[in-house]
Symmetry: C2
Subunit: 262 residues, 2 copies
């Protein structure tokens, strides 16, 4: 059975304007790979209801899981939750258990926090949603069908994902091995590398150049090289491809470095 696949929707004008640098994609990509739910697509979309609703409905039909980040706070630009309700065609209604949990949390604070209309929005969920409760905040994320809605603030998102992960049905974990070689140009290895990719069609064999700054005034890429990465669900194939890449580099007179370079 093939692995389930996932899409991430990053919702927020602040990412599209460049004000905020997204810090959630890499975390989720890595964690989902480990769970055997590889990320196949990411979209960053603005705080526009029609766009959110249409995008959610498009991607939830195409992927086994959809994860969203952003837009579930108390302010007017936090519209993800009501848009998910609209996408599923269900009412957006106060979730009584959540309201009670949040009210108790707010009452315990010193000074106590008021459960006002803005905060009540965070206890309002699409009908049928299952809250994702985490240690960082009493305002929950939630799962609605295959759509998992989380906060945009990285440490809250991570806490919500930790709470959600055990309930996700994963697949075979994706494993990868990297070989680095300093002073090797991609243009010199393209042909033998492609032959290795063809020998292991179920793997992703990728080539990623890297550069380290050289002394001032130098030209070219004095500390440049390539990272050659084999990735897939078969550890045996990944290790065999890594051995073939290592052999290819040795034949060229390069010095392969297994794993990430120091």
């Amino acid at each position: 059975m093939p692995n389930p696949i996932a899409c991430l929707l990053i919702i927020g004008n602040e990412v599209l304007s460049g004000r905020t640098r997204d810090a959630n994609l890499q975390f989720l990509a890595t964690r989902l790979g480990e769970l055997g739910i590889p990320l196949r697509e990411v979209r960053v979309i603005p705080d526009v209801p029609e766009t959110i609703i249409a995008t959610v409905n498009e991607v939830r039909a195409k992927h086994d899981h959809v994860f969203t980040t952003g837009g579930i706070g108390p302010t007017h630009d936090d519209i993800t939750s009501e848009c998910i309700a609209a996408a599923f065609g269900v009412p957006w209604a106060v979730h009584e258990e959540t309201r009670a949990i949040m009210a108790a949390d707010y009452a315990r604070r010193d000074p106590p926090v008021e459960m006002n209309a803005a905060r009540l929005r965070m206890a309002t969920l699409p009908l049928g949603a299952v809250p994702i409760r985490c240690a960082m905040t009493s305002a929950p994320g939630f799962s609605m069908g295959n759509v998992h809605v989380m906060a945009g603030v990285p440490r809250i998102m991570q806490s919500m994902f930790d709470a959600l992960a055990p309930s996700l049905t994963g697949g075979v974990p994706v494993v990868s091995r990297a070989v680095h070689a300093i002073g090797v140009f991609e243009g010199n290895i393209a042909e033998p590398l492609e032959a290795i990719q063809k020998r292991y069609p179920d793997l992703d064999v990728g080539s990623y150049p890297f550069y380290r700054p050289g002394p001032a005034g130098s030209t070219g890429f004095p500390g440049g090289g390539v990272a050659l990465v084999s990735k897939g669900v078969s550890l045996a194939d990944v290790e065999a491809a890594t051995a073939a890449i290592t052999e290819m580099l040795v034949k060229m007179g390069a010095t392969p470095i297994q794993g990430e370079p120091g």
Copy 2:
């Protein structure tokens, strides 16, 4: 006339797997905002021909400009250029001027670099494409219609964008002003902030909580606060909204900090 809008396609398995953290989105979002070509959508997609072709054709019809990063190197996983040709239904053919420029560059190197089949791929462009030449490399990006194809390596992408930018027809620059307030919770300002947003419907008024780590063992958000950002093409409106936000914070007894906090 409304501003032209843009979409960014980040092409590459390495971003979707979490191996590489994208560093191009924020640069392009900021620079495009300054040019009055706001980014409306970003997609991260894998190195899969059908996906690249279908996505390019979908987004180039919906946006004034499409920018792509990644997949224009010499290795087998660099398939962006041939996919753009397929998307436009034109041949993918050696661009003679580019081949000559690259060959001359390679011949000048010490030791000389061979113009092999893999490197010739980087001189192969969709028929009708206009090369984007930059100072970092003789292998170009290119513009094909409203699709601007750039490298994934950030410093090369930035050099290509610098070369491309003067030829882009921009709009009115997007300006923004931020007010920060320590110790203010979003839940306490949601209502008056929404009123300010409604008074300036052409602006984006956004609220972004931030947290600074507190002493070990502390609870809550000891250094927490909110950034309140007004953004739009009318500087007068942005300044008026910023003044209204400042007044709102003073009324609550908070201390507004203009601009980014130190």
